[in-house]
Amino acid sequence: MLALMRVVGVGLMATVLLLVIREERRDLGLILRLGAGVVILLLLVPDIARVVAAVIHLSELAHIPSLYLALLLKVVGISYLTVFVAQLAQDAGEAGTGMRVELAGKLAILVLAIPLIASITETVLKLIPS
């Protein structure tokens, strides 16, 4: 709850300050926006860590192999970072760069998923009587 109030305050502050600066200097406005985004995400880190710990605990209760859960967490982390950077680039009017960063993130996720896809395909092929 404390983190939420902090995030709300930081967002309000950053919006007002950005309104002042963006008119005069767009480059410094971009840096201020980057700073605000990083500060807000850093404030969210403890809560996310708590959620991740709870998910890991639940998966241990359900006897899900930790391999799959680690993969899922990696995918979440990759999307977290790439969306942050892509959104920043889009705010700066560089939509192309943002799209490329997103493409790189999707590619990284696909690379992580390849072993799973391969194992699913192998299982399906075993089930089919040749």
Binding site: L17, V20, L42
Partner: protein, 65 residues
Amino acid sequence: MASVDLIFKLAGIGILVTVAYSVLERLDRKEWGQLVALAGIAIGFLMVLQEVVQLFQSVKTMFNL
């Protein structure tokens, strides 16, 4: 909170640079104004980069990347 101070520092740098730029422009020293703006951007970006590194490290450790 050290990280919340960062936003105020960045906004202060922005306002200061804007004022310095307009004063130098009025004094017919536009190239100095550009240099001041560049220095302000570099300082602000370096300050933000430290926090970015911290965020990347924490995400890395949190999600076992």
